[in-house]
Amino acid sequence: MDEGFFEDLDKEIRKTFRALEDEIARLINEAEMSTGCLEPLTRIAETVDEVIVSFDLPGVRKEDIRVTGTERALVVEARCAVKRVWSHSRSLRREFGKFRKTVDLPAKVDVRSAKATYRNGILEIRLKKVEEGEQIPIL
């Protein structure tokens, strides 16, 4: 095998990941531009029995946030009190006044157990995991 084989393979994998990331960024940006909805930054964490999802929602009032969920996904929508304006030029201007994001959850959850808090512009939702599978006895 060539000496540089693994180096080339590593480069190729990195290139592919970068292209994929850029494609995701393009899709997000295009969706934001066409809908005027910003996709909030998100963080998903898991404990043994909980899934914790947080959203960065600056400039939003608590009463303007709407969260819906299923066993496997959450949808967050919010209206911004502070509008994001991007002026390309005097005649080309874009305005963003809402946040919207659908998050796929890493485990099945009980939506009715959800507890949401909104502090300092961060929305945090804690959901209890639904136990899956049966316990296997150890002989």
């Binding site: 960024a25 910003l38 963080r43 960065d56 400039g59 009190a81 502070v82 300092n120």
Partner: protein
């Protein structure tokens, strides 16, 4: 091509390197303080750096050029700009970036930046960053910790009321810059505020600036930054997203781990 670049400014250091600093002609460096604010955890350094640049009305005086950076320019007020630049005014200089420094460029960036800084005989180099804290949302008053490279920087750290960072890992540009500065005998001080990992954190940046405001040269109105915090968080969203991807590539999550105790 090199001749062309030389005609635009002062070309410094190894011309064969894939990264170099190009200064505008006539810039004076009077034993300055350098602030480094490239994108990192919570964009703490970047937010603080931009606030200093705007508050102190610093002009662009140099730029980092590299074929390791993405092929892009920044258009600001109809002007073509480089994404990684230095702003300053003789006594105070700020390194700022519109892009996260790519993982592939981190080593060259730290090495070249440090060589360039050494040549300017700085009073001190201050690197500003965030220390990721999953419980940041519960913290109204983030703690700032310092990592000095020598006694002089340690004295400065004490003067501005910051306790030392005693154990942990640092990953990325700031880590390598601190190491390079230490090896080169440059006085440097890393300042790291408790921060969100992947959300822009103007509160953490304000806290660092509050400490730095104890120095006359770095006195700024921190309240004005806090007043526009929501706007800042919205405006830095895309940079935070790109920075998060880059942090993942260089193994930034290591900063959540403690080192092995040598006992």
């Amino acid at each position: 091509m090199l001749e062309k670049i030389k005609s635009l400014g002062v070309l410094t250091y190894d011309e064969k390197m894939s990264l170099r600093v190009v200064e505008l002609p006539g810039v004076k460096f009077e034993n300055p303080i350098f602030i480094e604010g490239t994108p990192d955890v919570g964009l703490v350094g970047t937010i603080a750096a931009v606030h200093l640049i705007v508050s102190k009305r610093l002009e662009e005086v140099a730029r980092f050029e590299s074929d390791l950076f993405p092929p892009l320019i920044v258009i600001r007020n109809k002007q073509i700009k480089d994404p990684v630049s230095v702003f300053g005014n003789g006594k105070l200089f700020v390194i700022n970036s519109d892009i996260p420094i790519p993982g592939s460029a981190v080593y060259s960036f730290a090495k070249e930046a440090c060589s360039w800084l050494s040549a300017k005989k700085p009073e001190v180099v201050i690197l500003i960053g965030g220390l990721p804290d999953p419980n940041r949302v519960d913290t109204e008053d983030p703690i700032v910790l310092g990592l000095p490279t020598d006694r002089k920087a340690e004295n400065l750290m004490e003067e501005i009321g910051i306790e030392p960072l005693e154990n942990g890992f640092l990953v990325g540009v700031k880590a390598l810059l601190l190491k390079e500065c230490k090896s080169s005998g440059l006085s440097a001080l890393g300042l790291f505020a408790q921060s969100y990992y992947n959300y822009p954190d103007p509160g953490a940046a304000a806290k660092v600036l509050q400490h730095l405001s104890k120095l006359d040269l770095l006195k700024v109105d921190v309240e004005s930054l806090l007043k526009k915090a929501e706007e800042v968080r919205i405006n830095y969203r895309e940079l935070m997203r790109r920075t998060e991807s880059e942090m993942g590539r260089i193994g930034k999550s290591k900063e959540y781990e403690p080192p092995i105790p040598l006992v």
